[in-house]
Each structure stands twice: as C-alpha cells, then as structure tokens.
C-alpha cells in the first residue's frame, strides 16, 4: 500500500466562499483538516494610521468602510469614543435615531450573513429572499443620508440631520411602466417612519419564510449541527463576543449589560444558544433579527411622539445652522474653524464599545489635545473570531471549513482594517 502523507492546500484569496480576501493554508490528512493558517492583511488599508493624519470629522467615513455590511454600527462606536472623551451631550432624539439605525444595520448584516452562509452551504433561495429585504433597508439608509451603504450619517454630538418627511419615488422607465411603478410606490407615500413601519409589519413573515426554508431542513441540519462547536470556556478564552459567544450559551450583550444610547429604555430579549455549534449560532442570529425588528418598532413610535433637536448645540463640536451662520459672526467663526482646523479634543484616552452585529466593536482613542487623534485603535470582533478559526476547524472535513467561515460572519474590511 502506498504511504499517504499530509498535504497542504491553498484556499483563496480568490474564492467565493472566502468572504473576501481570506487566504487559508490548509494542512490536510485526506479530507480532514489538520491545521489551518489564515493569512490576512490583503485588504489592509492602515485605517488607524490614516486617522492619525486626519481631523476627527474627516476620519468618520473611514468607519463605514471597516465592516462594510454594518456601516452605522462602526460609526456609532467611533462617535461614542469622541463624545466620551470630549464630554459631549447627545440629544435623546439623536440617541433613538442611532438605535433605530443600529438595528436596521443589524438586520442588514444578519440578512447578508444568512444569505451568504446559506449560499455557501448550498441553499440558493435564501440568498434571493434576504436581498429582497435588504433593498428596503438600504432605501431607508439612502433616504436619510443619500448613500445606500456608506452613510456617514452619525456625527460627534448627534446625527447629521433629522429623518425626512417623504420618501423618494420610483419613476416610470422602459422596464417598469406607470402602472407597475404606482404599485412599487404604494409604501413610499408617507414619511421614512411610515415606510419603516410598513417594513416592520412585513418583516416577521419574511423571517418565517427563511426559517421555513432552513430551520427544519434536513440538509441544513446535516451541514450545521455539531459543526464548529465552541465550549463556553473556550469562547471566553478566545475573546469571542456577540453571537459567537451567545451561541455557546453565555448571556452577554453590551446593549443590556453596559447600555449605551437609548437601549436601557427599550424592551428586547437576548437569545442564547445551547450547544455552541453552527446551528445554534444560526438560531441565535435569526432570533436577533426578530428582536431588532421589535426594537425598530419601539423606536418608530418614540420618534413619532418626540420631535426635537438631533445634534448638540455645542458649536465647538457640531456646526451651527446655516441661517445663524449667515447672521452671526461668532457662528461663522465656529463654522470656519470646525471645517478647516477641526475640533480639538481634550487630552486623554477613551475606549467605547458597541454591540455590533458581529460582536464587541470597540474604538480606543488616545488624544494629546490636538485636532487629530494621537492614536486610534479599532477593536474588530471578526479579528478575534478569525484567530480562533484554526481551533474550530481542526478535525473537520474540508467542506466544513466553508461552514465555519460562514458562521463566524467574516468580513475583511474590519479584520484587515
């Protein structure tokens, strides 16, 4: 009989299941993975170094480009760190808008994850369903910021502007005639909040649709149950957070344990898994989508009832209104200084963390009193999760590597930074 040796295989960086630019060096014994060595950094843009050379406001759009499927959650951590350091009071309405958009972002992220994860394991239809709902949520992004993905909507001290009173309408074209367009515009007749309310009414049924396709699906269970099991002890030791930690049965959610923005006034549950396998993490994330929907509903009714300012009136950090700038010398100076030199943040250091859809996303800012951060460190949840990949895939078949990459919800923008 010929002697069989381990062999080494290269996976990625150009591979549809690598979720971006992951390069994996896999050592295989037949079809069983003996060792996995992820090579990262192919998307490294030195965001942290760039931020040291930009004013605080100029770095904000970089945050969207970290985890590019949960844009506003990244921004939230960044503005929270600045607000903590500078002691900026954020109006309550802005806090609610942020929470609402954080949860919209969580839905965007989880829908992207569910679609891609399903596709990786061979469930094509879920992907199409998920993208159908993402479309509506991206319209909500666009209505408020003008951009479907990289919103740059949060500001230190609040959000850029209040929610719009009307939604953009589809127009008739070669593809859609006037009658079809009228049908598409039915839920766009009111304000953004009306549009979102309509969405939250429909969305639970959509989640039921995904679950019908997957939860009791024999093939789905064969591919996910018992795959990539992480014990609670290891999950803690490996620095996991978010659904990766909750999937292993540890009830830890920053929205509840260290509440920020308006989360302490909202009602929601924290789902936890039992076995710490891929299937449990799937169930946790699906339930999180239902909870997010519930939070969005509460925010909508609060925002309807409570008009008010959405950004701080401290013009050292937020620009004054256009009209007052034209009439008031001091406001003009504030505006000029803010957009040329930028805001100065007092000397100190602060770490602010949010419950990002993937886990704990933290921003650590060290300021020496300048108009630019002295050092900015981005604590990306995916980075620690991917570092545990080796331990999670050992002893699994090569096809399970794809499942485990999927369950970790890997996005390279945040890992490589």
């Amino acid at each position: 009989m010929p002697e069989i040796k381990n062999y080494t295989m290269n996976f990625g960086p150009q591979h549809p299941a690598a979720h971006g630019v992951l390069r994996l060096v896999l050592e295989l014994d037949g079809e069983v993975v003996v060792r996995a060595d992820p090579h990262i950094g192919l998307l490294h843009r030195a965001t942290e170094k760039l931020a040291e050379h930009k004013t605080y406001l100029q770095s904000l759009p970089y945050m969207d480009r970290l985890d590019y499927v949960s844009m506003l959650s990244n921004e939230h951590a960044y503005v929270m760190a600045i607000e903590k350091l500078a002691g900026i009071e954020v109006p309550l309405r802005a806090q609610y808008i942020r929470v609402m958009y954080d949860e919209i972002t969580r839905l965007l992220n989880h829908l992207m994850w569910l679609g891609a994860h399903g596709l990786d394991i061979g469930a094509m239809t879920v992907f199409l369903y998920c993208f159908r709902e993402r479309e509506d949520l991206m319209d909500a992004y666009e209505a408020v910021s003008g951009a479907r993905m990289h919103a740059a909507y949060y500001r230190p001290g609040g959000v850029y502007r209040d929610l719009p009173d009307s939604m953009p309408q589809y127009e008739a074209s070669k593809i859609h005639n006037a009658a079809a367009v009228k049908k598409m515009n039915v839920n766009r007749q009111g304000s953004l909040l009306d549009f979102l309310e309509d969405f939250t009414r429909r969305f639970p049924n959509h989640v039921d649709e995904y679950e019908t396709l997957l939860t009791d699906n024999r093939i789905w269970k064969q591919r996910t149950v018992g795959i990539g099991v992480v014990t609670p002890e290891r999950a803690i030791a490996l620095g996991m957070s978010g659904p990766m930690l909750r999937g292993s049965g540890i009830e830890w959610d920053l929205r509840r344990k260290q509440p920020y923005a308006a989360y302490d006034e909202l009602d929601f549950d924290i789902p936890v898994g039992r076995n710490g396998d891929t299937y449990d993490r799937y169930l946790v994330r699906v339930e999180e989508m239902r909870q997010s929907n519930h939070i969005i509903k509460q925010c909508i009714s609060w925002l309807r009832a409570n008009p008010g300012p959405v950004i701080t009136s401290d013009h050292k950090y937020a620009p004054p209104a256009r009209e007052s700038m034209k009439q008031n010398m001091e406001e003009l100076i504030h505006h000029f200084k803010l957009f040329t030199e930028g805001m100065h943040i007092a000397e100190g250091e602060a770490y602010a963390a949010v419950e990002h859809p993937k886990g704990e996303f933290g921003i650590y800012i060290v300021s020496d009193g300048a108009n630019k951060p002295y050092r900015l460190k981005i604590r990306a949840p995916g980075f620690t999760h991917l570092s545990a990949l080796d331990e999670m895939v050992r002893g699994h078949m090569i096809a399970d590597v794809v499942t485990i990459i999927g369950t970790q919800d890997i996005v390279f923008g945040e890992i490589d930074r």
């Binding site: 490996l238 770490y351 108009n371 002295y374």
Partner: protein, 199 residues
C-alpha cells in the same frame, strides 16, 4: 457601572496588587493602571483569577508609540502595550498599560498563556510597531505584505511608506520602487491648550 462600584475596583486593585501597580488613574469612568514589564505576568494572572476581579476576557491589545505625544513633550518610555480587559462576572472593564523597558528594542512578555486571544493581537503589535513578545509561539507579521520591511505604525514611518509597487511592462512583472508621491498634509496638526475656545 456605578461610581461606588468603580471605587471598590480601585480599592480591590490596591489591596491585591499593592506596589506592583506603578500608577492607577480613574478618568471618564474608566480605570487605567500601569504595570511594570517585570511584574506583568504575575499581575495579569492575578487579574484573571482573583475572585474580586475575574477579568476573564482580554478584549483588545494594542501597541503604542509615544514618541511624538504632545508635539514631543513626552519624557517617558517610547513604546507601550495597552490591554483592555473585561470581566463578565463583575461587569467591569480595566485598562492596563505596560511600557517596554528599551526604546531601541522593545520587548514585552507574551500573555498568550493567560489569554489565548492575545495570539493575533500580539502578532499585530509586532508587525505594526516592532514590539517583540517573548514566549509567543508564532510571532510572524500578520497585516502587512509578504516581505514587508519596517514597522508602519511607528511615528517615524511616513504615511506614504517607503516603496510603491507597479507593473513593469518591459520586465513583464511587478516591481517595487521608491515612492514617487510627495508627502502632503491638508490640515496641519495643532495642539491647543485645554481651555482653548471655551466661553
């Protein structure tokens, strides 16, 4: 997250660590301690295991280069590693800073045996700052390119880097050459006194 909670964290730290804590500071609701590089492993084991602390998770580890802090006013050691610890049990966070003894060849002990999550974070700090972690089993570069030279996050490393890459049609391969972009700064960095602009 109450203030009296934090007070007791400081007291607990003082009781348990005593002289091994170089300094302790509380600011903006965050507690920061500085530990010397000699004691760090002992202190970290205590921070993780002591019943009143139980900092079981190391959430973040990052390198720091203080050489240009406050426009060169910094008098202390140049390199430091900052750890952000989290205790689920007590719902507390703690920041620990450890300065490397030597500025020319910064060395710090690896905490990988205490928190396995340190693995990639230490590789990152090694890659970007050139801080060497003794006891790390696999200290390789992680974020920069294969064959990269230098430590890009040090303050004396220019933002544009030293080399650029292009395809050379004559040699029909990718070549590296010195950077051709001029360094430029749109908004100059200015440090202002703390009371600047206050009413």
């Amino acid at each position: 997250m109450m203030t009296n909670d934090k007070q007791s964290l400081q007291e607990v730290l003082k009781d348990l660590l005593g002289d091994r804590m170089v300094s302790v500071q509380e600011k903006l609701g965050e507690t920061t301690i500085v530990v010397s590089a000699v004691d760090m492993l002992q202190v970290f084991t205590l921070l993780r295991d002591a019943a009143d602390l139980r900092f079981v998770q190391m959430m973040d580890l990052c390198g720091m280069d203080y050489s240009e802090y406050g426009d060169g006013e910094w008098a202390g050691k140049r390199f430091a590693v900052v750890y952000h610890l989290l205790s689920h049990l007590h719902n507390r966070r703690l920041r620990v800073r450890v300065f490397a003894e030597e500025d020319d060849f910064p060395v710090i002990a690896s905490v990988i045996d205490i928190w396995p999550s340190a693995n990639w974070f230490e590789r990152e700090a090694f890659d970007l700052f050139g801080i060497v972690f003794t006891g790390h089993p696999d200290l390789r570069r992680i974020l920069t390119d294969y064959g990269f030279v230098g430590n890009p996050f040090r303050k004396d490393f220019p933002l544009s880097g030293h080399v650029e890459m292009r395809y050379d049609p004559e040699q029909q391969r990718v070549v590296y050459q010195p950077v051709t972009v001029e360094p430029r700064e749109v908004t100059p960095r200015t440090v202002r006194e703390e009371t600047y602009g206050s009413h």
